[in-house]
């Protein structure tokens, strides 16, 4: 292990994640402002750019309250358990050819393993708070996040098959055209499942402000709340980065911009999509979210996997002129076909 590389990259990554998160917070609030016919934060600094800093200062100065009946050690550890994996994901994301902290040959596997740890942190927070809103949030976490992990992994496997490698660096290099063209369905499934994983509208049932106040983080204040907030945005950043790497060609792009700039632009593009969804959609109900996962996304992901396997085995996917329209057509047919079969089960009394 080259310790110099390790040290420098860790610092760079840490800086990237923190500044990325601060940028996202600002960008999202301004973006939501535009969507909602209001200016958004525009007082602290030019264009409100200092708003995240002001928020950070405020969060740091706030009193850290712990409920009397909380399981104190668990309550204390939960934000850390959630935050560390959210950071660790970035170790395998390439910012250029070979410019990554650790070029694991099982990069994707590592991401999946590490990012699923966040659920534990969230569940710890909800359970230890000794608050029933938090408990409901925690129960929803386990149900939702564990379920959505499956279509998420399956959707990624399509890209892995095309590249023939689990290393993210190799996957980027394998993309002669961005994989979104060869895996449109995979991309859509990935984005949907990922939005459920990172607890974003319309799947934001863990905190569901209008139902259970703030869900798992109801009893968190001060910097511990801040850590959850950071986690959420770091996860969003990582989801956008993974989507860019797997489906949008990662750091690859015309040479007039350096690789990392392309990656950052793609990350912002994907994040804008997530933001747009957040500003637009109402929230589903937990049983509808679960039904959507098991009855719609999972079969769709399996079919996508099967079809990709057939296309790769027959060599059709190498004939780009044929493969791109074929894949797009398959995506449309599958989505329309399956959505006709699928019922959310919404609208019926549950007793």
């Amino acid at each position: 292990m080259d310790w110099g590389h390790f040290l420098i990259f860790t610092v760079i990554l840490f800086g990237f994640v923190i500044s990325g998160v601060l940028f996202f917070i600002w960008y999202e609030r301004r973006g939501l402002g535009r969507f909602q016919l209001r200016p958004g934060p525009n007082r602290a600094g030019p264009f409100g750019l200092l708003q995240p800093i002001a928020d950070a200062v405020k969060v740091l100065l706030k009193e850290d309250l712990v409920p009397a009946l909380a399981d104190k050690p668990v309550h204390f550890l939960a934000p850390l358990v959630a935050f560390v994996p959210a950071m660790a994901v970035f170790a395998v994301i390439p910012f250029g050819d070979g410019a990554l902290l650790a070029d694991l040959n099982i990069g994707i596997l590592y991401i999946m393993a590490v990012s699923s740890m966040i659920v534990i942190g969230i569940f710890m927070a909800g359970w230890s708070s000794s608050n029933k809103y938090s408990l409901l949030g925690a129960m929803r976490t386990i149900a939702q996040e564990v379920s959505y992990e499956i279509p998420l992994v399956l959707s990624i496997l399509g890209a892995v098959m095309l590249a023939g490698s689990l290393s993210l660096n190799d996957i980027v290099k394998a993309q002669d055209v961005p994989f979104i063209l060869l895996q449109p369905l995979g991309f859509l499934i990935y984005m949907t499942a990922a939005m459920a994983e990172i607890n974003r509208t319309p799947f934001d049932l863990l905190e569901a402000d209008s139902e259970i106040i703030a869900g798992f983080q109801t009893e968190y204040s001060g910097m511990k709340f801040g850590l959850f907030y950071l986690t959420e945005y770091a996860e969003t950043l990582s989801v956008s980065a993974i989507a860019s790497t797997l489906f949008l060609g990662g750091w690859a792009g015309p040479a007039f911009l350096p690789g990392f700039a392309w990656l950052i632009l793609k990350i912002i593009a994907v994040f804008s999509l997530i933001l747009w969804v957040r500003a637009t959609f109402p929230r589903l109900r937990i049983d509808q979210v679960m039904a959507f996962c098991w009855k719609f996304l999972l079969p769709l992901a399996l079919l996508n996997l099967l079809l990709t396997a057939v296309l790769v085995l027959t060599g059709l996917n190498d004939q780009l002129w044929l493969a791109i329209p074929l894949n797009l057509a398959l995506a449309v047919v599958l989505i329309i076909g399956l959505s006709r079969q699928y019922k959310t089960g919404g609208g019926h009394a549950v007793n």
């Binding site: 909602q36 106040i213 109402p282 049983d287 549950v350």
Partner: protein, 367 residues
């Protein structure tokens, strides 16, 4: 190994973002499923009905503003009509038109807020609410123009209204009336067929026709259950019999129908407003009424179609300056009667949708 599950109790409110003020629901839950509900109110109680007995008739007008504070003008109208009924006085033509214009504008404003908050309750992250407030703001500007207030208007008086319309009012109103249908259609496109709105509201929280009638539900809640009952048509007051408009009704009595009824009612209000703005005559805005109101002994129950349903004022006069008894039939409170039956068996998330679709204002529930 066997697992034992227990019911648990959770309090939604009083200070909950979705209880539209200070309402409290004690829920017994089995997981996420509602097993039992106990609604508890009174957190905003101000003893208004008792207070009114100690104040003279005119000074009670501002109290009505604070009932359904999203539709103050309609409350004003209802109360003024009740006292006019006691005094047996006529309201000049122009004042009647002004009142209808104000009430219908207020109805649109209240429904905009109602639909916006409903969508907020099902998790639409403020966006629709803020769009709705864009139009509500324009209506509030008009109210600001006529009486200088933006929430508690206190504009109507016994025998008419406090001030005549300013010159710039009618052109501004006509401009708004040309814009409103477009905006309402925009919301229709964005919301009415949204897949998530559909699965969250269709078939959810059904209030059957019989139960709606038996619980005295009123307004969009009653009409959502398919009962064609609207005081403006069924017991016409003021000058409503001069206008053409329809009463929208739902079919299934579910959350979605209540939403649709409100949406359509806004369109119908625009229709009424267009006719009223075209027909409004010149003339007196205030009848001949003495400064000191002293109705002869007697009693009255006068009701208007509020934004949330039948809003009635029951007043007993004993010949003095103050009412002997002052009671409000507040639609928000009565529409909550069937809440328990509507909620049991649904999930916590549905509670917000159902509760939001009833559209209550706590100022009216706790008086």
């Amino acid at each position: 190994m066997t697992f034992k599950t227990e019911h648990y109790v959770i309090n939604i409110g009083p200070q909950h973002p979705s209880t539209h003020g200070v309402f409290r629901l004690r829920l017994t839950l089995d997981g996420e499923v509602i097993v039992d509900v106990e609604p508890i109110f009174g957190y905003l109680h101000r003893g208004m009905e008792k207070l009114a007995e100690g104040r003279n008739y005119t000074k009670n007008i501002p109290l009505t503003d604070r009932l359904d504070y999203l539709a103050s003008m309609i409350n004003n109208q209802g109360y003024c009509m009740a006292v006019e009924d006691l005094l047996k006085i006529e309201v000049p033509e122009r004042a009647q038109y002004i009142r209808v214009i104000m009430a219908e504008l207020q109805r649109i404003g209240a429904h905009l807020a109602g639909i916006g908050f409903f969508l907020n309750d099902i998790g639409a992250f403020m966006t629709p609410l803020l769009y709705m407030f864009r139009e509500r703001e324009k209506i509030v500007e008009l109210f600001d123009m006529v009486c200088g207030q933006r929430l508690n208007y206190n504009y109507m008086r016994f025998g008419g209204v406090a001030m005549d319309l300013p010159d710039e009012f009618l052109p501004a109103l006509k401009k708004l009336l040309n814009e409103l249908p477009g905006f309402i259609n925009e919301y229709d496109q964005l919301i009415t067929t949204n897949e998530i709105v559909l699965v969250r509201s269709k078939g959810v929280g059904i209030l059957p026709r019989e139960m709606a009638v038996n619980t005295s539900a009123a307004g969009p809640v009653l009409r959502g259950s398919g009962v064609k009952w609207d005081l403006r048509k069924n017991r016409p007051y003021s000058i409503y019999d001069r206008f053409e408009f329809d009463i929208p009704v739902g079919e299934h009595g579910d959350t979605y129908d209540r939403y649709l009824v409100r949406m359509e009612e806004m369109r119908q209000s625009v229709r009424i407003l267009k006719q009223a703005a075209a027909q409004i005559p010149e003339g007196e805005y205030m009848g001949k009424v003495s400064k000191l109101i002293r109705p002869p002994a007697g009693e009255t129950y006068t009701a208007v179609e509020g934004a949330k349903g039948e809003l009635g004022f029951y007043i007993i006069a004993d010949g003095s300056e103050n009412p002997y008894r002052w009671h409000v039939r507040a639609p928000s409170l009565i529409n909550l009667t069937a809440l328990r039956e509507m909620l049991i068996g649904w999930k916590v998330a549905d509670l917000m949708a159902i509760f939001g679709s009833i559209d209550i204002v706590m100022g009216e529930v706790d008086r």
